[in-house]
Amino acid sequence: MEDKLIIGGAKLDCRLFIGTGKFADYGLLPQVINASKAQVVTVALRRVDFGTPEENMLEYLPKNIILMPNTSGARNAVEAIRIARIAREAGCGKWVKIEIITDQKYLLPDNFETIKAIDVLAKEGFVVLPYMSPDLMAARRMADAGAAAIMPLGAPIGTNRGLKTRELVEILISEISLPIIVDAGIGRPSEAAEAMEIGAAAVLVNTAIATAQNPVLMAQAFGQAVEAGRNAYLAGTGATKRFAEASSPLTGFLRKEAVP
């Protein structure tokens, strides 16, 4: 049974997207991607630091990987739009993750500025995936502005706290017809599975893999968890009940007395 995730013309088998930040060594990236089977990775853009030796991180990524540059550092739509255009010129392709943040404590994204950025970039042919705070009205406006998917946070970036926004994410899944990709805060494979079980189209994980003691094994675990969660969703989970219901009939017991 085919169950590909279709975004921006790409047909993806793997519903785990991986962030490439915080790894101790770029050399881990090809192993992590291989272990998880991820087909989409995020990257960032920064000014060159003349002090540190130059390293081309693209050399560590498989040739056919889909790059999703993020607009991290952008404080408003104008800055995000500029970063997206630079990334495209750099040969990153047409996918972009919009990340517009001024809150330095929780790194919560600015939904308002994000809507404005989507409006401009979608018209320029970008495949826009906005990182957002799960709010139904904002998501609707993002969809109307031309987003290819919606990426609500599970918990603040880097916190590994799990799907704290579960109920709001469930509402987005129910009400928005675009793929809903939980991005940020997922700390364990079980939390990634949880997001998939409730119907998320994919999850994006960075910190939980990059800072694990064994990032390659953790990437494998996340890949498996996302697949399990997705299959559970497709299989249709049974109902939860208040009272117990025996798994075998309550008759024909092997007892001395002749009871039914």
Binding site: T20, T42, V43, L45, V48, E54, M57, I157
Partner: protein, 66 residues
């Protein structure tokens, strides 16, 4: 001449070309994007694009990010 590189004023040789400036800083340019006064300059033009006084140069690269 004085130009701005990544937001900082820097003294560089008069009429230096972008490629020359990158080489002087030991940047091979493999994963680098160059913007001059807000406009991205294609890699093939680096050899022959000379900078002018007060130009604002941004040298950008891709790094890991979430």
């Amino acid at each position: 001449m004085l130009i701005k590189i990544n937001g900082t004023e820097s003294e560089v040789a008069d009429n230096v070309a972008i490629q020359g400036l990158l080489s002087a800083r030991k940047l091979t340019g493999a994963a680098i994007i160059v913007e001059v006064n807000g406009a991205i300059i294609a890699r093939e033009l680096w050899e022959n694009t000379t900078l002018n006084p007060d130009d604002s140069l941004e040298i950008i690269r891709l790094i890991g990010g979430g």
